[in-house]
């Protein structure tokens, strides 16, 4: 595990030094979310109904925005080669990437959500559910993002490939994530959606770590 903490320390420090990158994601989230009420007009019901879906989709796009540099930067600098040649397992490196990405990219979006939903007249309880669903769903988004970022590595215009790989894979997360809130809003039992969301999170984490570390090894040509 020392390899993991070493990588985690580096990732954490680097991410905090690149505040611009982190702010871009948060600002994109905030600005895009504030555009919809302007476009949709002041129909309170419409905003309330669409808020969960809009927040989820914009959240997904914001996460995508951060994936470009996730592995590509380390590859360009030659750091990836050195990580692969070092005694640590690539799994430790990938897990550190995952954790730092979730903590510093996904979590701020979750934290912003209660503020943003004010624009959508979303009641307190629905907002709480939305935040919880994002809390449970964003790990899956990070996992899928990690898969896309690692697979697109080495491809020309890899950055353009990332949304093409990640977005279709994110559809189930979106369905169940929005489902948790909308089913509750309609006074229906949302338990199955919560279970599905949790299952996806636990399933996708190991799958993404394994896929990403395999992809890193196989992309070295």
């Amino acid at each position: 595990m020392t390899g993991f903490w070493t990588c985690f320390g580096r990732e954490w420090r680097l991410s905090l030094r690149r505040t611009g990158d982190l702010l871009t994601v948060v600002m994109f989230f905030a600005i895009t979310l504030s555009l919809f009420p302007f476009g949709l007009g002041v129909g309170k019901d419409l905003l309330q109904q669409t808020a969960p879906a809009i927040v989820w989709v914009v959240g997904m796009l914001a996460v995508l925005l951060s994936l470009d540099a996730l592995f590509a930067r380390d590859e360009r600098s030659g750091m990836l080669d050195q990580i692969l040649l070092s005694p640590i397992m690539s799994l430790e490196y990938v897990l550190a990437k995952w954790l730092v990405h979730w903590l510093l990219t996904a979590l701020p979006l979750v934290a912003m959500t209660p503020v943003m939903t004010l624009l959508y007249f979303l009641p307190g309880q629905a907002t709480l559910l939305l935040v919880l669903s994002l809390l449970l769903g964003t790990p899956s988004l990070t996992s899928l993002g990690l898969i896309a970022a690692s697979l697109s590595l080495g491809a020309r215009k890899g950055g353009l490939l990332i949304p093409l790989i990640a977005l279709p894979l994110m559809i189930p997360v979106l369905i169940f994530g929005v489902g948790t809130v909308t089913l509750s809003q309609q006074a229906m039992n949302a338990a199955s959606a919560w279970y599905a969301l949790a299952a996806l999170a636990f399933l996708l984490l190991p799958v993404s770590l394994a896929t990403a570390s395999l992809a890193l090894h196989h992309n070295r040509s």
Binding site: R10, G78, M79, D81, I83, P87, R220, S221
Partner: protein, 229 residues
């Protein structure tokens, strides 16, 4: 300055290696041996596959054909773990622009599970004291190269694969780096080095290995190996 520990005597055998880059076959049937104490100066025109060969030896490129093996003379059956044998320095310096030199070195030290003394030793050997606190983005290309070379000193490994290690270095630094390489060889290490420039002591001590494309074919390669006086 010599490395604190001498490396065990090893013999690396590379047999019938082939390297394919996309559609292009760079070389095929490339065989040679690398023994402890060997300093090999890999030469050849641009694009002939020198860098690819180093990457392949380091395990960063797949081996399309052939195999690599290493042997300890006392017939020890040690598993082949390329990771623990090779240091690879490529064109890129593997530096994080946003970290200071000190932080970058500390990261490598922990990555290689080296001791703080090794780190101090590396800083001294490459004379990095003057710009330890500088973020890597503000370093000159020579300073970057030296910081990258410090990695070799942090963790002792028997084989160094160096791709143009002297590029961007001033004359004094070339001298120190060559001295480090010679110390490494003296400590029973081995080194394959690509360089388009001669350096003090290089042509006298190195075995020159020239990678040259055979006229008319892309795949054929001629290995001429001759020990200079």
């Amino acid at each position: 300055m010599t490395s604190p520990t001498a490396h065990p005597a090893l013999c690396h055998r590379f047999v019938d290696l082939a390297c394919l880059r996309g559609e292009l076959l760079l070389y095929r049937g490339l065989s040679f041996e690398l023994r402890s104490g060997d300093l090999v100066w890999l030469k050849g025109p641009n694009g002939v596959g020198k860098s690819s060969l180093l990457r392949q030896l380091a395990g960063l490129l797949p081996i399309e054909e052939g195999h690599m093996a290493w042997q300890a003379p006392n017939q020890q059956q040690t598993p082949v773990d390329g990771k623990a044998l090779f240091h690879y320095l490529g064109h890129t310096n593997a530096l994080d622009e946003d970290l200071s030199v000190e932080d970058s070195l500390a990261f490598w030290q922990r990555l290689y599970r080296a001791s703080p003394q090794d780190l101090t030793h590396a800083i001294k050997a490459l004379r990095l004291e003057a710009f330890l606190a500088t973020p890597c983005r503000y370093l000159s290309s020579g300073q970057r190269r030296r910081t990258a070379l410090a990695r070799l000193m942090i963790c002792p490994r028997p084989v160094w694969l160096l791709d143009e290690p002297l590029v961007g270095l001033d004359q004094a630094s070339v001298g120190w780096v060559m001295a480090l390489i010679h110390d490494h060889i003296a400590a029973n290490g081995a080194c394959i080095l690509i360089s388009h420039q001669d350096a003090p002591g290089l042509s006298q001590t190195a075995t020159v290995m020239t990678l040259a494309p055979k006229a008319g074919t892309v795949s054929g390669l001629e290995i001429s190996e001759a020990r200079a006086s």
